[in-house]
Assembly symmetry: C2
Homo-oligomer: 236 residues x 2
C-alpha cells in the first residue's frame, strides 16, 4: 500500500466495462501504478462497503482538504451519510447547488506483509474510493429510508427493532446522498514479493492475517427485565 492510486489515463482511454456489473473507469479511478490491484466490479465494491463500519469523507473547505470519519449506509447504488443540520459539510452541501464535491473512502486492513527487505513490506487490504457530488436529501421518505440504512449498516436488522426517529429528531438530522458512479476498488492479497536474491536472508517472512471480532455484549444498566439478546446480535 502506498499513496496510490495514481490516475493518468483519460476516461476515453479507459477500458470499457459492461454497464450492469461494473463501474466505468474514469481518469480519476484508473491507477498508473499497481494497475492489477484496481477493480470495478459492483459486487466486490458493495461487499467492501457493507463490511466496514465507518468511511472517511473528504471535502474542501477554504481551499484545504478536510477528512472526517463518519457512519454511512448503502441503498443499492447510493450511499448516505448523516449529521447534525448544523454540521459544516451538511450545510455546505445544502447551500451549494449542485452539491458538495466529496471523496468517500473505505478501507479494510486484512494482513501485515513482512518481507525480508524493508522495501517490500506491505499490507493486504481492500479499499473503495468514490468520487462524486453529495446532495442533501430533502424528500422525507428518502430521508427515513436513509436513516434506516444507516442503522442497518451498523447491525443488519436493527432498524426494525428500535424506535424510529420522531419529527424533532428528523428535523435535527441532515442526510447527504452520494451516488456510486465514479468508483474503484483496490486490493492487495497474497504473500511477500521479495527479490530473488533476498530469499536466503536470515529474516522471517510471511503474512500476519488480521481479524475483526467482538467481545461480550454490554447490556445497558437500565435494560428492562425480560429483554433478551436479539437473534441479529447473536449471529454477528
Amino acid at each position: 500500500m502506498s499513496v496510490a492510486p495514481e490516475p493518468t489515463t483519460t476516461a476515453a482511454e479507459a477500458a470499457p466495462t459492461s454497464g450492469s456489473t461494473s463501474y466505468a473507469p474514469t481518469e480519476r479511478t484508473v491507477p498508473t501504478r499497481s494497475k492489477e490491484r484496481a477493480a470495478y466490479d459492483k459486487d466486490l465494491v458493495h461487499a467492501i462497503l457493507d463490511e466496514a463500519y465507518v468511511c472517511h469523507l473528504g471535502f474542501v473547505r477554504d481551499g484545504a482538504p478536510v477528512v472526517l470519519p463518519t457512519l454511512y449506509g448503502r441503498v443499492g447504488e447510493r450511499l448516505y451519510v448523516h449529521g447534525s443540520t448544523g454540521s459544516r459539510p451538511l450545510r455546505m452541501a445544502g447551500q451549494r447547488d449542485p452539491g458538495l464535491a466529496v471523496c468517500l473512502t473505505v478501507t479494510h486492513v486484512d494482513g501485515l506483509v513482512l518481507a525480508r527487505s524493508a522495501f517490500h513490506h506491505s499490507i493486504n487490504y481492500r479499499s473503495v474510493v468514490i468520487h462524486g457530488t453529495a446532495h442533501q436529501v430533502t424528500d422525507p421518505q428518502e430521508k427515513r429510508l436513509a436513516l434506516d440504512a444507516l442503522v442497518d449498516h451498523v447491525v443488519p436488522g436493527r432498524s426494525a427493532d428500535s424506535r424510529p426517529a420522531n419529527a424533532k429528531e428528523l428535523a435535527a438530522t441532515a442526510v447527504l446522498s452520494l451516488d456510486l458512479a465514479e468508483v474503484s476498488a483496490k486490493l492487495r492479497t497474497g504473500g511477500v514479493n521479495d527479490e530473488p536474491e533476498d530469499l536466503d536472508l536470515p529474516h522471517w517472512a510471511g503474512v500476519v492475517p488480521l481479524q475483526r471480532g467482538h467481545g461480550p455484549l454490554i447490556p445497558d444498566a437500565d435494560l428492562a427485565d425480560g429483554i433478551e439478546v436479539p437473534a441479529y446480535l447473536r449471529n454477528l
Copy 2:
C-alpha cells in the same frame, strides 16, 4: 459519530493549552458540537496514531478532494508517509513550495452503541485529525529514519530485522513529512444515551465492543530452514 467536528471558534477564542503536553486548539480543530469529545493531549494523540495501521490522507486535486488510505510512521511530533516517486501527491508535494496542503485522519472503531431509539445509535471511536502541509523529505538520513519508522509502525522492532533499502530502492521511494501541530483527537466512549421516556421500550440496548486480533502466522513458502518466528511477532 457524525460528520463532525465542526469548527466555528477562532484560534484566539480557543482555550489556551500548556505547550508541552497538548496541542493548541485552532479554528479548524475546535468542534461546535460534542465539544466534550474533543481532546488535544499529545500522549492521547500519539497512542491513537501508534495503534492504527493506516491513515486516510486527503489532499486537493484540480479543486476536488481526494482521500487515499496509506501507511505511515511517527517520529516524535512528525508523521511520515511514503509512496512511489511517481505518485501524484508525492509529486505534488515536491513541485509545490511550500508543500501540499493535507488532512491526515486516523480512526479506531471500538464499539457499536445500540440505543432504543434509532436516533441515538452511535459508535464508540477514537480519531485523530491533523491539518497541515506535507513536504518532501530530501535529506537522505531523515529519509532512512522515516522508512524505518514506517516499517516499525506496522510491527515494532521489524526494521532492525530486515534488509534496509538499497540506493535503487531509496531513489524509487518518495517520503512526505507532516508535523503534528494543528491536531485534535475526538472520542466517544461509554454506553447508550437514550431519552428517559424511551427506557421502557422493548428493545435491547447496549454496546457491542469490537476487538482486533490476528490469525495464525502464514510463513513464506520459500522461508529458509531454521528461521524461527521472531520474538516481536510472538508478542503481537
